[in-house]
């Protein structure tokens, strides 16, 4: 749990027409090979992706498992796996119809074998025909629940507080991308000020430090999933910044 609470902040928001996941990357350095840098957001399937907070190596195992489970389902049933089912599979005792597997997942690791739990929390976002757009949070105990908006990692409490005030039902993706961003960047600034990142220019959260992903429906009704490009991220953060200025001014006076 400690590793997770110190991990780069990650936020998920459920809108009426899609879900967003955004995460702050902790490991940024001029020497890091950007092209291969996938630290926070991972695609699981055509309609689902997840954000990670915690021990990266543990996360990788679980992500592989999630991807495999999703494909095994599609193989057996010729249908995309429903989001909740995928989340349950990683939390419980393995979801295969053909019988339980040994070394059961998250929960199993808390009860059997003398092994340690996975030090990872996930935010899983996706779409299925049964429940539409969904957002789930899982923790090392194997517990999970569905959320309209959630934050994990550093300063998640602050983020949750802000979201509690600002999340409204019926928000659309565009809207969700903006005001929440305003808060996200505001809070990220606060967070980066708190977190010791000496090499970074803390005044401006840029695409280098952030990963954003969305799953949404096109006007034709097709479900699409994509990571926002650097330019889009920068624009969003830039748009959010003036609002920040007002808030800083408001709180200063």
């Amino acid at each position: 749990m400690e590793a997770i609470n110190l991990a780069g902040s990650t936020v998920g928001v459920l809108a009426e027409d899609g879900v967003i996941l955004a995460g702050e990357k902790k490991t940024t350095s001029k020497l890091l090979d950007q092209a291969k840098q996938h630290e926070k957001l991972f695609q699981l399937d055509d309609t689902m992706f997840c954000a990670v907070a915690g021990i990266t190596s543990d996360a990788n195992i679980l992500i592989n498992r999630l991807r495999l489970t999703a494909q095994q389902h599609a193989y057996s049933f010729s249908e995309c796996m429903p989001v909740e089912q995928l989340v349950t599979s990683i939390c419980d005792l393995g979801g295969s119809v053909r019988g339980a597997l040994g070394g059961d997942y998250k929960q199993g690791y808390t009860q059997f074998g003398g092994l340690r739990p996975f030090g990872v929390s996930f935010l899983v976002a996706g779409y299925d025909t049964h429940h539409g757009f969904q957002l789930y949070h899982t923790d090392p105990s194997g517990n999970f629940s569905g959320w309209k908006s959630y934050a994990i990692g550093v300063n998640n409490n602050t983020a949750m507080q802000i979201m509690r005030q600002d999340w409204k039902p019926g928000m659309k993706l565009q809207e969700a991308l903006e005001p929440r961003h305003g808060k996200l960047s505001f809070w990220l600034r606060e967070l980066t000020a708190k977190v010791l990142v000496k090499t970074m220019d803390t005044a401006s959260p840029t695409a280098e430090r952030l990963e954003f992903g969305i799953v949404y429906k096109t006007p034709e009704g097709q479900v699409k999933l994509r990571m926002l490009k650097d330019a889009e991220i920068n624009k969003l953060m830039a748009d959010a910044t003036p609002k920040e200025g007002e808030e800083a001014a408001a709180s200063a006076s």
Partner: protein, 192 residues
Amino acid sequence: MGTEAMFGLTGKDFVILAADGQAAYSIIRLKNDADKIWKVGNMLFACSGPPADTANFMEFIEKNVKLNELRTGIPMSTKAAASFTRNELAHALRKGPFQADLLIGGIDNEGPSLYFMDYLASSEKVNKAAHGYGAMFTLGLMDRYWKPDLTEAEAIDIIKKCIKELETRFIVDLPGFKCKIVSKEGTKDVTL
């Protein structure tokens, strides 16, 4: 397998399946009112073959579909059930095959679906299908009389024509045909 007759077709918003009622052991007819059409979830599975294999396989599929429904809280779609069933046949094929031929009928959001599946694990979504030697007689008739958006009455009429043809021309006398329909309202028996 050959001397059993099973056939089915899709209607406007339903699927109709028919199967003979003969359960045989060598040259002895054990039963003339056997029910070979299984209710699996909210779908119908007609299964022919040696009773050992058909019962074993169908019970397995039936319970797995049920388990899936309980675990997920959602009824399985026909497409998913057909895919899962086909997978089971395929896995067993090169180990200990199930000698089961199936016709799977169900209603999904997209409308009625009928799947033809055989013991070699081939599977196709079709509008009309038949298994066994009886197929040689019934497929032609179904081709002649089927059209899109059949009403229940029209579909039952075609089934009756098929059975009459088998009675006339098939050397094996097949008694006790059972007929069932699956629609949005559920499954029901049809008295022919």
